[in-house]
Symmetry: C2
Subunit: 372 residues, 2 copies
């Protein structure tokens, strides 16, 4: 059985190319993890997700503990066979959705009590229960429970949440134990305060994790703030462990964060935007609901390997979104995920060839130039 | 360029196995035509529909004339390339949806005026305009405009509508002209009145069509009435032309109608029911929303060739429907269409081997026995 390991193959400035090895497979980094919220990457067959080059997907503990329930997933053989994704899965801790989706949330030192947004039933998450749930799901990478604030927030409030998250990180590690091949990631908090971020990173290093996430960004602050925080925080993280920027982001956010040393990303943007008619392409963003596409016979991107981007006309996609046909969401989700995976593949290649900065400049130029 | 032709390969009682040849391909009969209402078979990629064995799909004139519009489809190169279905397409006349979906419908001798259910805009369909629209779409098989009543209805009302439909059939034929390789089908009306059905069939024969549809059934009457009407009507239709029972139906309706000499079917049932969690299987119907499936690891049908029926657990399908995930509709639509196409394939085989009655008995026995 392979242990969890992370090896770096190349560096280009602060950007890194590497490989995470786990019993269920390799994860090539920089990696984008499609979000499979409720045990499905919305509007995609699992085989399609894999064929696009995804090595790992994310599952949401909050959603899965409510439906179908962690114990039920365990009885059914775990999340991998349930959703027919035999490759690595990272699960979040549930904390972020508790704060953003649940009702009547009540936080205390020990954990958080909340009412389900589905049926109003009461649930409790503690660091220990979150680790237990993620174990029941069968997660390959488990995330510690943390408290994630919306920005802007008062310094004292950010400090309190950061310190609570550190204590929860310690309890998560104790609860996790040492199951071989499974990994536990700690989460840096501290909002937009560089000194708090550094204290958080230092505290997590002392506890010791398989990987380190940066949480609490892309929650309302400008991109420049996010990038500054990364610039300050990433050097304080261990060089030999993977770094994961949670919930980020646009293609540009991702490329600029890779340049600052981030290895892993997840975001609902390609899937959610796809369901709403937004296409991410080599030529920038296109809104397929826009009337200008109504008689445009060109595809989203004739040079794409993805049938959704290559074979269907913009006119047809426009029609599917105007008539709210499911196939529109299916095609644009597919095409968007393909574009994200293409970016990651090209980024890895560019890092290996020492031309990452030029690569990012070329990509941005294409976005600005727009469709031919 | 191939002309339209229909050849019979086998008979078994009144059941027939045949082949329609058209420039865009062969249609093996008995044939089930998946419904592609708005230029998409809902929640399916076109390649999937083809791979299941569908030789032809149906498009809805009413929906397509409203969005994206017939002239627009023509400018974009026709419905086939628009929806990426290069094989035969049958379009209906628009009449049925005008009656069932449109608002403020006003019928006169010349045609029907109605307001769109989408935006309330006023539109007009006449037999000539319906044929023109279907030509603009590029239909391989065009249906005449008819008036379709809901049953039960008064004799005099049924008679009036049937006679109007006959006059519209004559005008449709005149408007259709003689484009080689394209076909025009007439539609038998007459409600549940055998004598009116016979007069309708006789009138249509005198006009002369490439094929003959039976319309105005499965609109609320019991199955026994539908089968009686078929029993009376089908012998009055030309033996050498294909016969199409419009909008029918359940797997049982279809098998029993084949036994009465019907060659072609269309129905939203497998696609619509699939979106609502109803599975049609070898073991009968299953409602995936039912709690009894919550921990059932068996697939819908392990012997199916369709990945959706064979590879995903009922527990997972149940979860997808409980959480209203798109993948549930995608999988059940796929599985249901696969089952319908399997039935047609097996029916064709059974007719060739002279054991159609036994085949139907076996299928019904499996439905009644239920899942193992």
């Amino acid at each position: 059985m392979t242990e969890f390991s992370f090896t770096l193959q190349a560096r280009d400035g602060n950007a890194r190319r590497g490989t995470i090895s786990m019993p269920r497979g390799l994860i090539r980094t920089p990696a984008f993890m499609p979000v499979g919220t409720q045990a499905t990457v919305k509007a995609m067959y699992p085989e399609q997700v894999r064929e696009l080059g995804a090595d790992i997907v994310l599952g949401n503990t909050y959603h899965l503990m409510l439906r179908p329930g962690a114990e039920r997933v365990a009885r059914l053989g775990g999340l991998h066979s349930f959703m027919r994704w035999p490759h690595p899965i990272l699960t979040d801790s549930g904390g972020f959705q508790v704060m953003s989706l649940a009702q009547l949330t009540k936080l205390d030192e020990d954990g958080v009590t909340f009412k389900s947004h589905v049926d109003g039933s009461t649930h409790r998450l503690t660091p220990e229960r979150s680790v237990e749930i993620q174990g029941l799901l069968g997660a390959d990478i488990t995330m510690q429970l943390d408290e994630c604030l919306k920005l802007p927030a008062d310094y004292s409030e950010v400090e309190r949440a950061m310190e609570l998250s550190l204590r929860w990180g310690e309890r998560s590690k104790a609860a996790f134990g040492g199951e071989p091949g499974r990994a536990l990631f700690g989460i840096v908090q501290g909002g937009d305060q560089a000194d708090l971020r550094l204290r958080s990173a230092e505290g997590l290093r002392q506890i010791g994790f398989h990987g380190y996430a940066v949480g609490g960004l892309a929650v309302g602050e400008p991109q420049s703030v996010m990038l500054e925080i990364l610039q300050e925080t990433v050097p304080a993280l261990p060089d030999e462990a993977p770094r994961y920027l949670m919930g980020v982001g646009t293609p540009e956010d991702i490329l600029l964060s890779i340049a600052r040393g981030i290895d892993m990303f997840d975001c609902v943007m390609p899937t959610r935007a796809g369901r709403h008619g937004q296409a991410f392409t080599r030529y920038g963003r296109l809104n397929m609901r826009n009337a200008k596409h109504a008689e445009d016979l060109s595809p989203l991107d004739p040079s794409s390997d993805c049938p959704a981007a290559r074979d269907y006309s913009r006119a047809y996609l426009h029609h599917l979104f105007r008539t709210q046909e499911t196939l529109g969401a299916m095609l644009l989700t597919w095409s968007n995920l393909a574009y994200y995976q293409t970016l990651m593949k090209e980024a890895r290649q560019a890092i290996s060839e020492g031309r990452y900065t030029d690569y990012v400049a070329e990509v941005r130029e294409n976005w600005e130039r727009g469709a031919p």
